[in-house]
């Protein structure tokens, strides 16, 4: 049942992506409206999917990479809907909906079985806390990167004096920069808490806080990159294009840490996934 909802949500997000794409091509606001409501409907279905999965498994449904990806795309769409209230630019949705769809498509190639029983040591409240913090943090970085893309794109348009209709649909550079600043602080805060909670969980489960497995190492690298970004912004006054480029670079790193490490480098976290109880 949760998979049915998941598929419905995915189809609606894909539909929204198509709607938004047409909207970008012909700049017809009615298509953007279609895209938006399709996204909202998809979000509702997606929420039901998560809810059903939670009830069915009797625990927070964050135990597999599939779940983590599903939750990440849910968070991205949720954040998009929140941001949209403040910055009513349909172009945001035009990037957020395809991104969420892509993550869900990646997720649906993975096993969605809820392995029973969960390894007892993992059946802890640290699981939802750690995963939710990490995933929501990543979703914030995703939104930041989307804002960064829009910034770079629009900045080029203005600099090269190509002012066309698409231009009018983008939020101002100032607003995009503000998203970057707020997103950076919030995302960095969540990432920090995510890493700390992971360490505490490891400490309570296995007695050691840090074991330098690939995921942990890459998370730390990501953390340092964002720490540098915070420093450049706050202390050196970096903004605009540089901040936008860094947001995009940072998110690439996040995605590598999130998905790539498991697939390419294996290790501690990935090992858990194969036996079904991973912490992402």
């Amino acid at each position: 049942m949760d998979l049915v909802f998941f598929k419905i949500a995915l189809i609606l997000y894909l539909g929204a992506s198509v709607g938004y794409l047409i909207f970008l091509l012909v700049a017809s606001s009615s298509q953007a409206t279609v895209g938006f409501w399709s996204t909202v409907a998809g979000f509702v279905a997606h929420s039901l999917s998560l809810l059903h999965r939670a009830i069915f498994s009797g625990f927070v449904p964050l135990g597999t990479t599939f779940d983590a990806l599903s939750f990440l795309s849910w968070s991205i769409i949720g954040l998009f809907l929140v941001v949209r209230c403040r910055v009513p630019s349909p172009v945001f949705g035009a990037v957020a909906a395809p991104l969420a769809s892509a993550l869900m498509l990646v997720g649906s190639t993975l096993s969605y079985q809820i392995n029973e029983p969960l390894v007892p040591v993992l059946r802890s409240w640290w699981l939802p806390i750690h995963v939710a913090l990490a995933v929501v943090g990543n979703a914030v970085f995703a939104l930041m990167a989307i804002g960064g893309l829009m910034y770079i794109f629009q900045e080029r348009l203005i600099k090269t004096k190509r002012i066309n209709r698409l231009h009018r649909l983008l939020p101002s550079l100032e607003v995009l920069d503000l998203i970057n600043r707020r997103g950076l602080l919030l995302g960095f805060f969540l990432l920090t808490l995510g890493i700390i909670s992971g360490a505490l969980w490891a400490g309570s489960a296995w007695g050691f806080y840090w074991s330098w497995d690939p995921k942990e190492t890459w998370s730390l690298i990501t953390w340092f990159v964002y720490a540098v970004m915070v420093h450049q912004r706050v202390a050196l006054g970096w903004r605009g294009r540089r901040a936008a480029l860094m947001a995009i670079f940072g998110f690439c790193l996040v995605m590598f840490t999130f998905v790539g490490v498991n697939a390419l480098l294996g290790g501690h976290h990935a090992f858990r996934v194969t036996i079904g109880g991973g912490r992402t």
Binding site: R165, H167, S172, R239, R241
Partner: protein
């Protein structure tokens, strides 16, 4: 007689300003001019539309050709002009063409600046005055309401009103794109000439912070600053201005660039890379073009702005084509409505005619029927009613079907002659369909 929608008018495209400023239908505030149009023979409903770019009479009239002549003469006498003076500048449209014209005007497809938003309000005002004066009836009420609806559709379904089509508006739009809300931003004028003043006026109205002016002659700077309630600085302090301002308009007569790449690079560091929008309207240029390559600096000169205007005008034209398609749809919907409108009265008249025949026949035989019991009497009533309903059923359902076709007028005409419906109120309405078919 045939009733038809008629538009007589002139606008910026057909008449020079000397003529336009003479024909304004003065004194129409209470719809009095519209009222007086009803006194013209053949005019049934009228709306007067008068703006700085157009003057029009929209009417429902009988015998459009002759009535148009009378309306032109009346217009002449209202303004104390000989009709020959303005006749050649007039357009006269009738039937679907007139409907199309009204819809296009309301949708701003016929405006001098395509897509400008004021015209809809002016059309609404014209209609409000006419309906207060009681000069509109069912046809023009519907026509005007449909024109508002069409205008709304054109505005929301196309991008006709979205892009800025003057240099001043483009500058403000770009400033908003770069800097967001302009309220808490500040503007610096470098050079205090007439050009600077013109360029700054619209921008300054969007900004709450006081304007800064620097100029080679301090006196002139003070003069312009006073006018905008801003403050003036001597040229030597230009760097301070550049550091604090968010939008800079340069318009000095200097032959050498006033703002160089190296200068601006230093300024940006001191600004902590806050973005700045430079508008260079001077010829020769006041700002080195390479300044645009600096991070956070956006430089537009007057040619760049002009190019954006051209681009936007082209875009509005594109969008106008989509607007025309919407208008065409709405015109055919409206014409459809006028056709069904004319079939219904005919059907009503046919029914009424048959009922009259039945009632009069029963009345004639009243003496012979007096022997019947009330129950029998009731039965006779029922039978006769059933007979006429049966007879009327086929022709009426035929008329209902035909009412939606373009050839309906032929059948409506035949029906009226067959049942000898002439001289009833049906006549006029039925023929209205005929006129709108042309």
């Amino acid at each position: 007689m045939i009733s038809s929608i008629l538009v007589i008018g002139l606008n910026h495209a057909t008449a020079p300003v000397e003529i336009r400023e003479k024909i304004t239908f003065p004194g129409n505030e209470e719809g009095r001019v519209a009222r007086s149009m009803l006194d013209v023979e053949g005019v049934e409903e009228a709306v007067i539309l008068s703006t700085c770019n157009r003057a029009e009479i929209i009417g429902l009239v009988e015998d459009p050709e002759a009535t148009a002549e009378r309306l032109i003469a009346t217009t002449g006498s209202i303004h104390g002009l000989a009709p020959e003076l303005f006749r050649t500048h007039l357009y006269v449209k009738e039937g679907p063409e007139a409907v199309r014209h009204v819809f296009r005007v309301a949708s701003s497809l016929d405006s001098m600046v395509l897509g400008e938003p004021q015209i809809l309000g002016q059309v609404k005002e014209a209609y409000r005055r006419a309906s207060r004066a009681g000069t509109t009836g069912p046809i023009l009420n519907r026509l005007m309401h449909r024109s508002f609806f069409t205008a709304k559709r054109v505005r929301s379904e196309t991008g006709i009103g979205l892009s800025a089509v003057s240099v001043a508006y483009v500058a403000v739009e770009l400033a908003e794109k770069i800097l967001g809300n302009l309220k808490d931003k500040s503007v610096l004028l470098v050079g205090a000439g007439e050009m600077a003043e013109m360029a700054a006026r619209h921008l300054v109205s969007q900004v709450e912070k006081p304007l800064l002016v620097v100029n080679r002659t301090y006196q002139t700077a003070c003069g312009l600053a006073c006018q905008f309630k801003g403050s003036a600085m001597p040229m030597e302090q230009i760097e301070e201005g550049l550091i604090s301002a968010d939008v800079v308009i340069t318009s000095t007569g200097s032959c050498e660039p006033v703002i160089t790449y190296r200068h601006m690079k230093e300024v940006m560091r001191k600004r902590r890379y806050r973005p700045v929008f430079l508008i260079d309207i001077a010829i020769p240029r006041d700002v080195e073009i390479t300044v645009n390559d600096l991070d956070g600096v956006y430089l537009y000169n007057i040619d760049d702005l002009q190019a954006v205007v051209e681009e936007n005008v082209g875009e509005r034209r594109q969008e106008a084509l989509r607007g025309e398609a919407i208008v065409a749809q709405e015109v055919s919907k409206f014409m459809e409505w006028t056709r069904t409108l004319s079939a219904i009265p005919t059907i009503v008249a046919v029914r009424r005619k048959l009922e009259t025949v039945r009632a009069s026949e029963l009345a004639r035989l009243n003496g012979k029927l007096s022997r019947l019991t009330p129950e029998d009497r009731e039965t006779v009533e029922m039978i006769t009613r059933a007979i006429i309903n049966k007879i009327a059923h086929d022709p009426i359902s035929f008329l209902k079907k035909v009412g939606k076709r373009s050839r309906s007028k032929v059948y409506l005409d035949i029906t009226q002659r067959l049942f000898n419906l002439d001289g009833t109120e049906v006549d006029l309405d039925a023929h209205e369909g005929e006129s709108t078919d042309t």
